[in-house]
Amino acid sequence: MRVAVPVKASSAKTEQIILFRVSGQLFAVSSASVQEVRSADSMSGAATEITVPGLRKVRQVLRRGDRSLFIVNGAMHFGLHAAEGALLFVLRKTRTALLIDGIEKMTAMTRLQALPLSFCHEERRWYRGLTALDQTVVPVVHPEGFLSPEELALLDAALLESDNTAAAVPEEADSAQ
């Protein structure tokens, strides 16, 4: 399913969001940040394995032409109990495909409150802020917060190494014949 870029809401103060669950925990993401929603099963054939020591949240990569999308396990990213994700969010303007449990609903938020300054670790990169919806507080994720530039560099290096190994194997086979 390809998600259309939402038309700007009539009120400048509202933002369309998708509420989704990862390991039972509720999160929100701006619907404008979600380029595609795919079932994890439909993508499993197209994905290839990737291993980066110390970066367990990424196990697979999707190749699309000369672009690579890294599949980030949402549960592992947030330090939640490991869960088999059922859906993938391909996040716009990023190289992340986020593995989630499922979509709760689409709604609009009227106010995004900055993450209180007491939260002073990695979560400041993870979240754009918090929003109150139906007497519940939901963290709104930052699409670019799933993979840091350092993590992307490690993944790219692993990808390059894997490509070089794959290219070397046929050459060795040819020379053996």
């Binding site: 925990q25 999160f27 330090g79 939640l80 209180p116 007491s118 002073c120 939901v138």
Partner: protein, 159 residues
């Protein structure tokens, strides 16, 4: 020559955590509220339980009992909502307390260099010597993150 010490009486809120009492300058207290639902989400800041909703604001809940008493207290009677300074910015922080609170007027004695960083001073009340808390060092903030980042252990994820 006799030097008369000028008394500087200030208002303090006395709060109870377990068996101990502590004080916070009253000017730093926004309100005292009954415990309400704590909303939890993944983060990696130690001592933060989650957030509560209060008057449309999202207020972080910071449990200082472990730091002050050496053990975590699960019972709570109120949340003391206090103003926490982050440089020039100020934000509300909710601190769980386990017993009644009391407003008193007392003179604070300044903390000495040997006191713990969370001690802003001392006051004497009802025969007890009570620590006046420095909330800026007791609750997490960017300055603690810098100190922790320099330490050997990475923070564990909080569910």
């Amino acid at each position: 020559m006799t030097i008369l010490a000028e008394l500087e009486l200030q208002s303090f809120v006395l709060l109870r955590l377990g068996e101990r009492r502590f004080a916070v300058p009253a000017r730093q207290i926004a309100e005292l509220v009954a415990p309400s639902r704590v909303f939890r989400f993944p983060h990696r800041t130690p001592k933060l339980e989650g957030v509560i909703l209060r008057r449309g604001r999202i207020v972080p809940v910071c449990d200082a009992s472990e730091m002050l008493l050496g053990k975590r207290l699960t019972s709570r009677r109120f949340y003391l909502i206090a103003v926490r300074n982050y440089g020039t910015q100020k934000e509300w922080v909710a601190m769980p307390v386990t017993g009644d609170c009391e407003l008193i007027t007392a003179e604070m004695m300044a903390a000495s260099e040997s006191d713990a960083p969370h001690v802003a001073g001392w006051l004497s009340h009802d025969g007890d010597v009570i620590e006046v808390l420095n909330l800026d060092t007791l609750t997490p903030g960017p300055e603690q993150a810098i100190v922790e980042a320099a330490g050997p252990q990475a923070a564990e994820a909080q569910p």
